[in-house]
Symmetry: C2
Subunit: 596 residues, 2 copies
């Protein structure tokens, strides 16, 4: 996917990435693989069965998680996408995403900790002062301290503009924070001696979402020591208290904390960037995190796929029906049964399709980095358009995929003897993290689609059209190119239909089925990615005479899975378009009581 | 649903049910409700968090489960559908199902124990000797002893013909059993001093599925005492050993046991009915159990629906979009948001739609009881046709519904503070119990549809047509009647298309997408039930001038939910038909290796 589908080596033509080679990228992946198999996968079940506990105000996490965190940071992976001036090695985000896929596939709970640290460091480097970068971001990137993002409050989940955490400006230019945050992933642990929280708060007296600012709030803050202490910096307790830990359905190795800031009125926050710009800064981290969630959906469902696949080859059960391929009555490994094959193909189609879509987005982040003005805007637009789609496809289709994977194992899949039941619990959070599917759907239809007179959407159609055009030159794919073209046209028509509703002034009706819109958009976007993979695979099958049997099988499997995706999964767009163009209004109602 | 939709009081015209009145039926429901709220619902979480343990070869279950079991039996509910001569009160299965819905809604794990006891007693009374009924079934019905069904073995899950448990006939006409069974629900516990297992085994020397017989294998068997013991019966240990307990994703209060029979070669089994007929006897219990699973899908998803509904009324979050109904910027309880309303409607549509379908099946069981020859055959055919559909709709759509319910609660839904995450874990087993969805699909398309030259399917179309005809006389429903007619015609065409594939001799291709066939069949069957409910509701709204505001709201909600079902859920049939009529063969392949 990296070298053949997304051509990441093209990126090395640009100065920023020019030091890199394929060998270097391969080493990154191998490092990730080695950490994953040694420090992560062996502890997947154990860390679920022994979730972190909050004891005497402090959280203790699984010992294996300590090892993983330190190994990951020591390996250089944590800082690998950062500028050399911050100790990074400037590898492309797309390559890092592939490494992250490998890591998260082995342990989606552990991955969270390093993912948050890297995201927080990125935000600080982009928006905060050199002093804060020097004091805090550099320590995070070095692996000394961990980090989090603190947004949600009991009364403010999807609606961040309702947050109540307050910041009072002090004479010295710092702020005193006071408030409660909930569901703070990795919000407390004993891995590092300090944790750097990025906290959304409202400066006293300001109102609305523009009154929200972003603060760096460490558990222990750095202070200049007095002269009697030799003038060195010292760490001072910053009045951040762990007051609760959520017990969750899955991803149980990652504590979701309830934190109190300023219980003793001694909690100092350092303003990041300018006052009132907190939400916009946080959304930069949030958008990166959304891609991470889409990727997580894909790596968890891929982990499930390989479990199901291995099981289906081992498990003998039942006989195949009469067929040209099997004698009547032949006992079969269940991989021989069409219904099991259907579930496996579905797993593969959704896992690798959602992976391709999210990798495409990471590629756009790198292209933004390496492109000139006009292209840069185009890639940025494409990225913003597709981020909620890639997040949602990974989360929602990933959950469907894992659910099918559990079903492949029959009753065994429901037991703790196999990993499927845990992966089904783990992946369920992805539809909630970083904005629920409903919120992503509103972001897509309500913001990205109408933005700039539909320019982003048109850019995307151009991208899809390129792939369709290529497919038309390959006889085996012409049919699928035509098919995708029709799907894009249908999506375009539905989009226009919905925009017409908005132009008539009823925004609530316009957005009421946004959830179905993102579902159909996602289905077409994955078809685009599968057709693209199909093109690459067929090209190899035609050109690569000398390739090994396994290589040929790999590419043939890609083509078959592409076909499966179109013939089975893409079918569902019909019903979605019908509903989206049907103007019977049922869910928008003046009378709430009608639901009893 | 009982009195207005299914007219259960009509049943009391027949001699068998003639003693009953609406007041009597209401009392059954009230008894169930009282047990549910006092002995079940309060322990839903606690029993999940403290699952049964196997200690020193014996399973201890939650104390609350003991109380429930005894209360349920004492109340007379356990034996209520049985003949008076067995101490029962001959209430219709449909009424009992309604009581069971109430019970299971409060605690789906506890319900399993009484459900299995009742099913086992029914099987014994239908097929076993008077002696075994007298010795064992009567004790089960009295609540003294519990019971199970023992089918699955490690190598024989979906494929029961591969079981290896052997039975060796002894000179006295009894059998010695030897074998392992797994996943035996309620297979060991300390509620009753004895447990009666119904065990599928193979009589030594016999082969194939016709070699399988059914045995009653108590944990303690009744033996005539010797004269020195005053000639009374005594209970002898029967060599049944608990060797393992499965740790499960959900329904954790119900132990799924691994049992060994005859470890010391002292396990006696009593043949039920005739040799070689084990599978056909067991399938009678199995078919009843399948309806029970469909009902369970419905009662769990209903429990989730009411949790989500209550939450959505309490939780303030975000503002409504500009709309004729809401001022821009008005803060809203989330039930006001269209996307949340969509999820709630979906929950209600699937929960009450699947309930209606399974109640329809129970009604057929009662009509079989009360009908004369020709009608009896018709109702029996309808029952057999619809049993796999009702089971699958309850299980699969129930899981979709609960998943939506969890989403309504956002991040809170993922925590153990709310019941949604547990209900999501609990309901997942329903797609596996009593034959996976794949097995149900094969039973429907492979057996029920072609049976008797398609007679059963035609009977069902007749039933649906009656409802369509009625709807055409109600102006508000004419459109939906026409819509359902088109759906039935489409299903008929797809069915014919598939049967043509079979007639061309490729049974494996014919059955390869049976899973999609049962999905589309289920969607149309639920539409039939919703239209029927819509007719009843509209009739009430038109006639019932004097009814209360709440009553009107109840019926209006039914009509709106019916509309929702058609405009949203029934849309998915299009894509399913397209795939089912598409002859591109992808999942039936000679080369297993193509999945990599």
């Amino acid at each position: 996917m990296l070298y053949e589908v997304f051509n990441v080596l093209e990126l090395t033509r640009h100065t920023y990435f020019s030091k890199h080679t394929q060998e270097g990228f391969d080493m990154v992946l191998e490092t990730a693989d080695s950490i994953a198999e040694k420090y992560m996968r062996p502890f997947l079940k154990a860390a679920d069965r022994n979730p972190p506990q909050l004891v005497n105000g402090k959280v203790h996490v699984h010992e294996a998680l300590h090892n993983y965190y330190h190994k990951f940071c020591e390996s250089g992976l944590l800082s690998s996408t950062f500028d050399e001036k911050y100790g990074g090695s400037q590898i492309p985000n797309t390559v890092y995403a592939a490494a992250d896929f490998i890591i998260g596939n082995a342990h989606n709970g552990f991955e969270m900790f390093t993912g948050l640290a890297s995201g927080a460091a990125r935000l600080l480097i982009t928006f905060s002062s050199e002093e804060l970068i020097d004091q805090y971001a550099s320590r995070i990137l070095a692996g000394d301290w961990a980090a989090t993002m603190c947004l949600t409050e009991p009364q403010a989940g999807s609606s961040l503009s309702n947050i109540r955490t307050t910041a009072v400006r002090q004479p010295d230019g710092l702020y005193k924070l006071k408030g409660h945050k909930i569901f703070i992933s990795a919000g407390d642990h004993d891995i590092t001696p300090n944790i750097v929280h990025l906290v959304l708060g409202r400066i006293q007296g300001s109102a609305g979402s523009k009154g929200i600012s972003l603060f760096l709030v460490p558990v222990k803050r750095i202070e200049k020591a007095t002269s009697t202490q030799n003038g060195n910096s010292i760490l001072i307790d910053n009045d951040v208290t762990s007051i609760g830990i959520a017990h969750k359905m899955g991803q149980r190795s990652t504590p979701a904390m309830q934190l109190e800031f300023g219980n003793e009125d001694k909690c100092i926050g350092y303003l990041i960037g300018e006052e009132g710009k907190g939400l916009s800064y946080m959304f930069q981290m949030m958008n990166t995190a959304r891609l991470g969630v889409g990727l997580a959906g894909s790596y968890i469902s891929t982990a499930a796929y390989y479990e199901s696949l291995e099981y289906s080859k081992m498990r003998l059960q039942g006989k195949r029906q009469k067929t040209p391929f099997a004698a009547d009555g032949e006992q079969a490994a269940i991989i021989g049964h069409p219904d099991v094959r259907r579930m496996l193909f579905l797993q593969k189609a959704l896992s690798e399709g959602s992976l391709a879509l999210v990798m495409q987005c990471y590629m756009y982040t790198d292209l933004v980095q390496t492109s000139s003005d006009k292209d840069r805007v185009r890639y940025q637009d494409l990225l913003e358009l597709l981020t909620p789609v890639a997040k949602t496809v990974g989360a929602e289709m990933g959950a469907v995929s894992v659910n099918n994977g559990l079903q492949v194992l029959g009753g065994y899949g429901y037991t703790e003897d196999f990993i499927l039941e845990q992966l089904a619990r783990d992946i369920r959070i992805m539809s909630l993290y970083e904005g629920t599917t409903g919120i992503q759907a509103q972001a897509l239809l309500g913001r990205q689609i109408p933005a700039n007179d539909g320019r982003s959407f048109q850019y995307w159609i151009d991208e899809v059209s390129k792939v369709i055009l290529e497919a038309k030159h390959i006889p085996e794919l012409r049919h699928y190119g035509d098919w995708l073209l029709k799907e894009v046209q249908a999506l375009d028509m539905t989009t226009e239909h919905l925009l017409n509703i908005e132009s008539r002034g009823n925004r609530e009706v316009f957005l009421s089925d946004a959830n179905l819109y993102i579902e159909v958009f996602g289905a077409v976007a994955v078809a685009w990615q599968w057709l693209n993979q199909g093109i690459v695979a067929l090209r190899h099958l035609k050109d690569g005479q000398g390739e090994s049997v396994n290589d040929r099988l790999f590419y043939e499997s890609k083509v078959e899975t592409m076909r499966f995706y179109f013939h089975y999964e893409l079918r569902k767009t019909k019903g979605l378009h019908e509903r989206l163009r049907d103007e019977s209004v049922i869910t928008v109602a003046p009378r709430k009581e009608i639901l009893v």
